[in-house]
């Protein structure tokens, strides 16, 4: 990215009065050094708003308006005063010299030639473009919005609100990460709803399916460890020997994508030995006996062992242990369902939980995630479209937004006509880095007339944008955060003033609204006033109040609160399916073209030309394209590597440290090899991340293959990220 020297210096010299010209040296003295004065040291409550199980409670230490360090909030009962390595690097994000400081425009797009513009000019340009497209096409449908999990703070749904307030737009609908499992649990239980993770201490047996808590949900470890201290056995099932798997009492290196077959094998053995909790299964579900028949007719241990590569005696061992140890908990990871049969595999594992009576029990459960604590008002998101807005007539005859598949974004954007998509608005999202088929994404961006991105760093998506609007970090904003794993909700205070000229999504929305209405009265319904704290206050409702036992959101400033829910999900047996029971036989699934029962669906086989499976899971250093680019992280983890089994490496003449080209017909990447026996000879592993100033991206080789489920609950099927097949050669 070439930022012209003059522009940058000119930019920094003209820094707004309130935004200090920051230098890392201002941070250097420790706030705990004995000789340091604690004068003017303030603390604030924050919550990490990232797409992460742990969603940590944080305490920020601010002195003289400068964030000195960030620590964990000891009052948070799940994160218990500790952060992960990423959380500790936050000062480097807030004060990074690479941070986008001002609205900037790039002429031409992709050239790296950025000039600073004022907020007024930015809003003017954007508003004029929106109105021009509206006039040209008769609607705001040519504007496509893609937002996801860069910041999961509730007030950040103001980004969606921005779009709703200008009319009906094209929306990237869906979620890439976890929809197959969500649908599976939706078909089975009515929705996804996991036990309180703190309840895992009560488990006497734990199975982690394709879940790497050590690196992606580390705060759950102490609870798992406590269970083990009390005698629980930990079984980890994963094609890759992860850090979590390294801790297991029993690690099973399963053949990728065959977890459902393993669960079926276990189920058959449990059935044969009559370890079934018939009472629970028959009283709480429909279709159980039908499934039992399927097991009797179609499933044998032979078959399961052959499919999964797991020896029969092991299948028998874990089946017996899981069925007879009470209570037994299963944690289904998101990695496990990133296959074309991922959703179906989750359904099978659900059924396994039901058959053993582990659903609805403390220390048990088939735990995937939950959204029970997310019942906010979404006030920032809810704005009516302006009068006379033209929209897309949906299958239900109603006029509204036009939805495209977030998980096939490049293709779907290009495929729209009547009207075509001409403009993109991106917030909390980095498709340039995170979406499958990076080459296709690049082409699609290039075909747009105008791209606006709200972000903090000049990442790949920003590099392909016309205008970048600088986003605040969560320390510079008011918000409220829930988690999709633990049961706590926390308030996030504005600890420091927004750096430079950054703004939050709602502040941007308010500015845009003002500008649009000035140009064309009534063209935007987004409110034009409201302090950040007022926006947060508006998100609370009696439901949230009673869930947390508070009467005012300000009580959360004293500390985060845990939702008043039973430790075990589904303890009340009130399932949310159409039949109000667990639907082992799901008519809804059948209606959607899926098997009604949790039966085996074939996994994807490697094509002959590309025989090697390329896993791209999540490392501890980054959260998607965040954190890895920071200077501390670059020192700790300077370059990407691909993990290759020595047997596979020898086949291609690759030695430790060699540069390897990984390719298929979509694209290629070049990366250093690390030989390790923690993967298998069929699977190579490289962690998805954005390294500073690097164009390295595993997604150049990744096809947007859909997983089998996701449409029902999230609008679109997910991406089978781990069904990516490649070839390798020494580069």
């Amino acid at each position: 990215m070439k930022l012209s020297r003059r522009q940058f210096i000119g930019g920094t010299a003209a820094a707004a009065a309130g935004a200090a010209l920051f230098n890392f040296n201002l941070l250097t003295k420790s706030v705990t050094a004995a000789d340091d004065s604690l004068e003017d040291l303030k603390t604030f409550r924050n919550v990490c708003p990232r797409n992460c199980y742990d969603t940590c409670g944080q305490i920020s230490y601010v002195q003289n308006g400068i964030l000195k360090k960030v620590e964990g909030d000891p009052k948070h009962g799940y994160t218990n005063g500790k952060l992960c390595l990423k959380g500790y690097t936050y000062t480097r994000r807030v004060y990074s010299p690479d941070r986008v400081k001002y609205p900037m425009k790039q002429t031409p797009r992709g050239s790296g030639n950025w000039t600073r513009i004022s907020w007024d000019e930015a809003m003017d340009t954007i508003a004029k473009k929106i109105l021009e497209l509206k006039s040209r096409y008769g609607s705001t449908l040519p504007i496509c919005f893609n937002k996801y999990s860069g910041n999961f703070g509730i007030v950040h749904y103001g980004a969606e609100g921005t779009m709703s307030s200008i009319g009906y737009t094209t929306r990237a609908l869906g979620t890439p990460c976890w929809p197959a499992g969500i649908d599976a649990q939706t078909y089975d239980f009515g929705t996804l709803y996991s036990n309180d993770p703190e309840d895992m201490v009560n488990a006497k047996y734990l199975i982690l399916w394709g879940q790497n808590a050590a690196w992606t949900a580390i705060h759950s470890l102490p609870f798992i460890n406590k269970a083990r201290e009390r005698g629980a056995k930990l079984v980890v099932i994963d094609p890759v020997l992860t850090s979590t798997a390294s801790k297991a009492d029993l690690y099973i290196q399963i053949n990728s994508s065959t977890d459902g077959a393993l669960a079926l094998g276990m189920a058959r053995y449990i059935l044969d030995n009559n370890w079934v909790d018939w009472d629970y299964a028959r009283n709480n579900s429909v279709g159980f006996d039908e499934w039992v028949d399927y097991l009797k007719t179609n499933i044998t241990l032979d078959w399961a062992s052959e499919k999964t590569g797991v020896p029969q005696d092991i299948i028998r061992e874990i089946a017996r242990e899981y069925a007879t140890t009470k209570p037994a908990s299963m944690w289904v990871g998101y990695g496990m369902q990133r296959h074309i049969n991922g959703g179906q595999n989750v359904r099978i594992i659900d059924a396994l939980g039901v058959m053993t009576g582990n659903v609805g029990k403390s220390g048990g459960g088939v735990n995937y995630g939950h959204l029970e604590t997310w019942g906010f008002n979404y006030n920032a998101m809810t704005n009516p479209a302006p009068k006379d807005s033209k929209g897309f007539i949906g299958p239900d005859g109603k006029e509204g937004d036009r939805n495209i598949n977030m998980n096939n974004f490049a293709h779907d954007v290009m495929a729209q006509n009547d009207p075509p998509v001409k403009m993109l608005w991106l917030a909390c999202r980095n498709p340039g880095s995170q979406d499958p088929d990076t080459n296709a994404i690049e082409k699609m961006f290039a075909a747009m007339e105008f791209v606006v991105t709200v972000d903090s760093f000049f990442n790949k998506t920003v590099q392909m944008s016309d205008i970048i609007l600088p986003a605040t970090t969560h320390f510079e904003d008011w918000d409220v955060m829930a988690s999709y794993w633990h049961y706590w909700i926390g308030i996030n205070q504005r600890a420091i003033d927004p750096m430079y000229e950054s703004k939050s999504d709602v502040e941007i929305a308010m500015l845009l609204s003002e500008k649009m209405n000035a140009l064309e009265s009534g063209s935007c319904t987004f409110p034009t006033s409201g302090t950040p704290e007022e926006w947060v206050a508006k998100e609370f409702n009696p439901g949230i109040h009673s869930l947390l036992g508070i009467s005012d959101y300000q009580e959360l400033i004293e500390g985060p609160r845990k939702a008043k829910m039973t430790p075990a999900s589904w303890a009340d047996g009130k399932f949310r399916t159409p039949s109000k029971k667990i639907e082992i036989h799901s008519n809804l699934a059948e209606k959607n073209g899926l098997p009604a029962l949790p039966v085996w669906v074939e996994d994807m086989k490697a094509p002959e030309k590309y025989p090697i499976r390329f896993f791209t899971p999540h490392p501890q250093h980054g959260l998607h394209s965040q954190f890895q680019n920071l200077d501390w992280m670059m020192t700790a983890n300077p370059e990407p590597k691909v993990e290759i089994h020595p047997v596979l490496a020898a086949k291609y003449g690759i030695s430790e440290g060699d540069k390897v080209k990984i390719y298929n017909d979509l694209g290629s990447i070049i990366i250093k090899a690390h030989l390790t026996r923690t993967t298998s000879p069929e699977v190579i592993v490289s962690y998805e991340a954005w390294y500073k100033d690097s164009n390295f991206n595993v997604n150049y080789t990744l096809k947007a293959t859909p997983s089998d489920m996701g449409k029902q609950a999230t609008g679109n099927d997910g991406v089978a990220f781990h069904d990516n097949f490649v070839m390798i050669e020494k580069a």
């Binding site: 890392f24 941070l27 250097t28 003295k29 420790s30 705990t32 050094a33 004995a34 000195k68 360090k69 960030v70 964990g72 005063g81 500790k82 952060l83 992960c84 390595l85 990423k86 500790y88 936050y90 000062t91 480097r92 050590a214 580390i218 705060h219 470890l221 102490p222 460890n225 930990l234 094609p239 020997l241 992860t242 850090s243 979590t244 390294s246 801790k247 297991a248 009492d249 029993l250 690690y251 099973i252 290196q253 053949n255 590569g309 797991v310 092991i314 501890q620 200077d631 501390w632 670059m634 020192t635 700790a636 089994h645 047997v647 390790t676 026996r677 923690t678 298998s680 000879p681 069929e682």
Partner: protein, 188 residues
């Protein structure tokens, strides 16, 4: 020296998350390149089964610190509790301690042109708090301990682990609990 404070690192619990590394950096807001505490991954071939195993090392506050011996300006002092403190103000950046330490723990800061290293958070310890790294370790793999015979006689406590310089050079105040491997069903 009335006692020797040091670290006990448990590779059975450590998951290589590098939280300790970053907690240290967060506490002192160190510059980008010096790594006062560093997490290392153990070599697979040193153990019977391959797993991901780690150890974390900061300054070892050795009983016979080479850094202290060679330093021409007496920038290093060893406290009564065994902590080896580096006085940043006295340092003249001669880098002899870098040459002398078998663990490469003193770090040369290219901007400040001085050495810096872990001081066992003595400021926190004097206030009765744990070092930042120990306080941050989520699996509780890193502990602050007193190195003494009682500790060394405990089951499973090792003076060194594969890949480390022999402890007889400087008698580092660090003890280890080695990684444990469970049963593995493997595809190779």
């Amino acid at each position: 020296m009335t006692k020797q404070l040091g670290f006990l690192h448990n590779s059975e619990k450590c998951v290589g998350c590098q939280g300790c590394e970053m907690a240290c950096k967060n506490e002192y807001q160190t510059d980008a390149t010096p790594r006062w505490r560093q997490v290392f991954q153990l070599r697979e071939e040193d153990y019977s089964l391959p797993t991901r195993m780690f150890f974390s090392m900061a300054c070892n506050h050795c009983a016979n610190p080479e850094c202290l011996r060679v330093c021409p300006v007496k920038a290093y002092t060893k406290r009564e509790d065994g902590i080896v403190v580096h006085d940043h103000d006295r340092c003249i950046g001669c880098r002899l301690c870098l040459m002398a330490c078998p663990y490469d723990r003193p770090q040369f800061n290219l901007d400040k042109k001085k050495v810096e290293k872990c001081n066992l958070c003595y400021q926190r310890i004097d206030k009765g708090e744990k070092p930042a790294c120990v306080a941050a370790c989520i699996p509780e793999a890193l502990q602050l301990v007193e190195i003494n015979d009682a500790l060394d006689q405990k089951m499973g406590v090792l003076k060194t682990i594969p890949g480390l310089p022999g402890p007889d050079i400087t008698h580092p105040a660090i003890r280890f609990i080695g990684p444990k491997q469970g049963k593995q069903i493997r595809r190779d």
